[in-house]
Amino acid sequence: MPPKRKNDTAIKVEDVGMDVDAVLDSGSEEEARRRTKNRRIKPQRKAKQVSDDEEEEEEDEAPKKRGRKKKPKPQDSDEDDEEDKRSVKSKGSKVSRKKAQKDDSDEESEEDRGKRKKGGAVSKKEKEEQNKDKKGNPKERRRDSKGGDKDKKKKNGKLSSSSDSGESDEDSLSEGELAALKEQVEEKKKLIATLRNKPWRMKRRLVLLKEAQEFVEKFEGALGKGRGRKLYAFKVMMTKKFIKFKRDFENFKTACIPWERKIKEVESHFGSSVASYFIFLRWMYGVNLVLFGLMFGLVVLPEVLMGLPYGSIPRKTVPREEQDSAMDFSVLFDFGGYCKYSILFYGYYNNSPTIGVLKFRLPLSYLLVGVGIFGYSLMVVVRMMARNANEGGDGADEGEFTFSWKMFTSWDYLIGNPETADNKYASITTSFKESIVDEQENQKDENIHLRRFLRVLANLMILCCLGGSGYLIYYAVKRSQEFSKMDPDDLSWLQKNEVEIVMSLLGLVCPPLFETIAELEKYHPRIALKWQLGRIFALFLGNLYTFLFALFDEVTAKLESEKIIKNATEWGLNEYYANYSSFYNTTNVPPPNVDPADVVRGPCWETAVGIEFVKLTVSDIQVTYLTILIGDFLRAVTVRFLNYCWCWDLEAGFPSYAEFDISGNVLGLIFNQGMIWMGAFYAPGLVGLNVLRLLTSMYYQCWAVMACNVPHERVFKASRSNNFYMGLLLLVLFLSLLPVVYTIMTLSPSFDCGPFSGQDKMYDVVMETIEKDLPAFIGNIFTYATNPGLIMPAVLLMVLALYYLNTTSKGYQQANLDLKKKMQMARDEEKNRRNNKDSTNQVMKDLEDLLPNKSLVPPPTEEEPPPPDVVTEKGSKSPKTKPGSATKGVNLQKEVSLAASNPRGPVTRAPGPRGGPPGNTRGPQPGPGRGRGAPPRK
C-alpha cells in the first residue's frame, strides 16, 4: 500500500538527518498509521508544498480518520503529553502501575476504536501494540531532547515497566497472548538481524539492540511449556551458537581472500577500473585452482600413486632413438623427451580399466574430469554473470541520466593518490564538457558521407588484417607440419617455433594497428573501445580457430599414419603368435619379450595436440612478460633516467610512461583461459601450469603496475564492461568446448597411448562401465533414457519451456515499457503545466480558463491568502532548520497549515513572473495548479 511505503522512505531519509525525531521499528499497520499521523508534521515544516493530494490519498486509505483530521490538532499534542506523563508515572512506580497501565491502554484503544470504527472488542494484540507504542513514544521525545544519561535512565525505567507489564501478561498466558508474544519476539529478532541495515544513528541502534536483546531473552523462555519449553530453549541456544559460528566463519572467509592488500593498494593508486582487472585475475585464479584440484586429485595423483611406474610399458618410456637427446634442454623446452612421456600429457596414462588396490577407474575418471572441467567452468561463469547483472543497475537506457550519473556517481571514493585524483578531476571536467557539447550540438552533421566512407574503409582494412593474419597462421602451421616431417636436427629454433612466434607477434602488432585504423572512424571513445575490443576478440578467435583447423589437418594425417603402424604392429604380433605356437606347439603364448623402449609406436595425436597447446601457452606467457618488461619497465627506466640529459621532457613529452592497458590484459587473460580449457583434456599438466602463471602474473603485474605505470588520463568505467568481459569469457568457453567435444565424440583415440587406447571412441568407457560394472537395471534405465522416443519429448518440453519463458519475459518487458511511458507522460504533463500552464488534460484546461486573468492578478491573490503566521514561521525556518528544533513549533505549524484548507500550498516568496525559467529554485516553489499531480511512486 502506497502511503505506508512512502512514509517508510520518508522516515528513512529523515532519520539519517540531523532532525530525527521519530520512528519505531517497523511494525504493524496500526502502528504505521499512527506514525503517519505524527509524520505528517514533518513534510509541512520542511517543504511546504507537501501535496494535499497525497494526504487525501492517505485518507482514502483510512477514511475513518477524516473526521478526526478535521479536529484541531492540539488534541494530538495533548495525547502526547498524556503519554509522556504516563511514562513518567510508570517510571516512578513500576510494579504497582501495572494495573493502571492496562486501564490506560484500554482507554486508549477504546479511543482508537472510536476513531477507526473497528468495532468489536479490543484484541489482546492491539493491547500489545499499544504497549509498544508507549514504549516508542518516549523514545521519540527523548531523541528530540537529546539528553545524555538522563535518557538512559528513562529508557531503563521504561524498559522495566514494559517488561513488567509483559510479566503480568505471562501470569495468564492465553493462546492469543502467547501468539502475540511469539510474534513480538520474532519481530525483535528480525530487528536484531537487520539492525545494521537501518539508517539510524549508532547510539540509537545500540539502544534498540540492547532493548531488543533483553526483550528476547526475557520472553524467549516464557514461550512453550514443559518439554516444549526445554526444546525451545535448546533451539534458541543452538541458533545463538549457529549465529556465532556463522560470524566466525565469515571472519575466517574474509581472512582467506588473498591479495586483498595488494589490490587495495593498486586501487588507491589507479582507481577501481585497474583494480577490476586484478580482481578478475584473482577470480580466475580461484577458478583455475578448482580445476587444478579436480585434474590433479582425480587424474594425475591416482596415476602417479597407483599406476605403473615410468619405464614399465612402452607408452611410459622414451623411445630408444630419442633417448640420447631426451634430457637436452632444447628438447625439454619444446616439451619433447622426458616431458612428452610424463604425466603432463595424455599419452602417459594407461588404459587398464582399474588401477591400484582401490580399483580406481582411471579412464572413466579421466573422461569425466575432462567434461567436468567444462561443466564447472560454465556454471561458475554463468553464476558470476547473473550476480553481476543483479548488482549493476538494472540497465536504464544509456543517456537517460547522463548528467545526474556524472554528478553523483563519477567520483571514485577509492582514489587515494593525489595524481590519480587530479586525473580524475580532469577527466570528470572533460566528460562534463563533452556532454555539454554533445547536448548543445546534438545533431550537427558535418559531411556525413565522408564519415561513412571512412568508416567503411576502416572496417575493410581491419577485415583485410584479420584475413591476412588468419592466412599467415594457416600457412605457418602448414609449414611447421612440413618441418616436422624433416629431421629435427636440421631445423633451427626459429623454424620449430614458427607457429607460436607468428601468433604471439600477431597478437602484439595487430591491436595497435587496429587502434590506429579506428582513428579514422571518429567514434565516441566508449563506442570506440567496444569496437576495439570486438576486433581484438575477432583477431584472437580467428587465430585460434585457424590454428585449430590446421591442427585438425595434422591430426587426420597422424591418424592415417597411425592406422598403418597399427596394422603393421598387429600383423607383426599375429606373425609372432603364429610362429610361436607353431614352433613350440602350444596355445599358451607369452607376450613378446621386447624392451618397452624398442616397441614400435604410433604418433599419438592426442599428445601432439597437448604439446601444441602447452607450447602456445608458454610462448604466450613469455611474450606477455617480456612485453611488460620491455614496454613498461625499460621504458619507465629510460624515461626516468634519460630525462636528465635529453633535449625535451621525456616524462611529459613523447615516450612518457605507459598506462595500464586494461582491456588488452583482460582479453589476454580470457584467451589464455580459452587455450587452457581446450588443451586441458590432452595435457592434464596444463592446468597446473596455468595456476602457476596466474600466481606469478599476479605478483609481477602488481609490481609492474605500481612501479612503471601512470594512472590513466581518461579513467573510463570498468564496472559496466564487467559483464561484457564475462560474456566474452562465456563465448570463449563455449568455443573451446566445441573442438574438444568434437574430438571426444568423433575421432578414435590412438591405439597405443592414453587412457582410451583400444577403444573405438572415447566415450565408450562410459558405456562399458554402465554395461559391465553397474547393476543391470541402471543399464536398462540408461538405454531407456537414451531412447529417441524419450529424448524427443524431452527436447520438445524444453523448447516449450523456452517459449513460455520467452513470452513471459516479453510480457514483463512490455509492462516495464508501459510503466516507463506512463511515468514519462506524467512528468511531461507536469512540466507543461508548470511552464506554460498549458495542461494536456482538457478538463484542467477548462478549469484554468475559468480563473481570472493571470497577468492582471498577482499570484498571492490568485491563491487564497495563507495565514500570516505560516509565512512568518516559514520565513524564520529556512530550509537550514537545525536539528532537534522544538517539537512544539512543529506541532503548531502542522495544525496551522492543516487548518488552512487551501489546496495550493502556502506561498513563500515574493510574487514574481510566472513561468519564468526554472532558475531560482531556492526555497520551495508555489504549488502547481492543483498540487502535485502524480506522486513519484507507482
Binding site: 531519509v13 529523515e14 517543504a47 545494521r196 549508532m202 541502534r205 577501481s272 578531476y425 511515468m823
Partner: protein
C-alpha cells in the same frame, strides 16, 4: 593495540558487530584509528561509553596518515596488522567535509566514536545499496532540506570539477541533471527521484565506498 581487553567489553564488541558490518578486529582497529586522531581527547578505555567528540578539522585532516606514509611516497595506506591495510583515500576525497558533517550527530562535524564507526560502516563495501543511497542523498543534500536543489548540485559540481567550469556551464549541467532525474517536476530532487536515478546507475556501488 595490545590492550584489547580494556578498550571494550565483550558485550560492547558484540553489539557493535550486530550494528555494523565490521568484525571484532576491525572495530578495535577503528578505535585505535579514532584515538590516534586526538590522543589527548580520546581515552583508551571505552567500557563506560564516554561522550567525546572529535572535531571536524581533526578528522578531515587525518594527520597521522601523513606520519604513517613512511618511505613509500604518496601512499595513503597505513598498515594495521599483517593482513589488512586501511586505505581511507581520505585526503583526496572532495566530499570528505561533507561526509563527516553528515555522520556527525550535531551536524557540525564533531564525531563521537559511535558516529565514526557508523560512518565507516555505511561506507564499507558490504553495506547494501539502499543504505548507501540514503547516505549519499544526505551527503549531497548540503542545506539539509531533504531535497537536492540546484544549489546543492552546484556545490557538488564545483567540488567535482574543482571549479573549472564556467558559471553558465554549471547552470546548464545542473538544469540538465534536474531535468533528467526529477520525476515529479518540482525542480529539485526528492529522495524518491534520487533513489530512482541511483538505482539505475551502473557504478554507484563500486564507487561509493571507502575501504577499511
Amino acid at each position: 593495540m595490545g590492550n584489547k581487553q580494556t578498550t571494550f567489553t565483550d558485550e560492547q564488541l558484540e553489539a557493535y558487530q550486530d550494528c555494523t558490518f565490521f568484525t571484532r578486529k576491525e572495530i578495535l582497529r577503528l578505535h585505535s584509528r579514532y584515538r590516534e586522531l586526538a590522543p589527548h581527547l580520546v581515552p583508551l578505555d571505552y567500557t563506560n561509553n564516554p561522550d567525546i567528540r572529535v572535531p571536524l578539522t581533526l578528522i578531515v585532516t587525518m594527520p597521522e596518515l601523513k606520519v604513517c606514509q613512511g618511505p613509500s611516497e604518496g601512499r595513503h595506506c597505513w598498515r594495521l596488522d599483517c593482513r589488512l591495510t586501511v586505505c581511507l583515500c581520505w585526503q583526496e576525497n572532495p566530499f570528505r567535509d561533507r561526509i563527516v558533517e553528515t555522520f556527525s550527530e550535531d551536524g557540525q562535524g564533531n564525531l563521537t566514536f559511535n558516529d565514526f564507526v557508523d560512518m565507516f560502516s555505511a561506507l564499507c563495501e558490504t553495506s547494501p545499496r539502499e543504505l548507501k543511497t540514503i547516505y549519499a542523498f544526505k551527503i549531497y543534500d548540503y542545506n539539509r532540506d531533504n531535497f537536492i536543489c540546484k544549489e546543492d548540485l552546484e556545490k557538488t559540481l564545483n567540488k567535482l570539477t574543482k571549479g573549472e567550469l564556467t558559471p553558465e556551464e554549471v547552470a546548464l549541467v545542473c538544469d540538465k541533471a534536474i531535468e533528467e532525474a526529477d520525476l515529479d517536476a518540482d525542480n529539485k530532487l526528492s529522495f524518491a527521484d534520487f533513489e530512482n536515478m541511483i538505482s539505475k546507475a551502473p557504478d554507484f556501488l563500486s564507487n561509493f565506498h571507502v575501504r577499511i
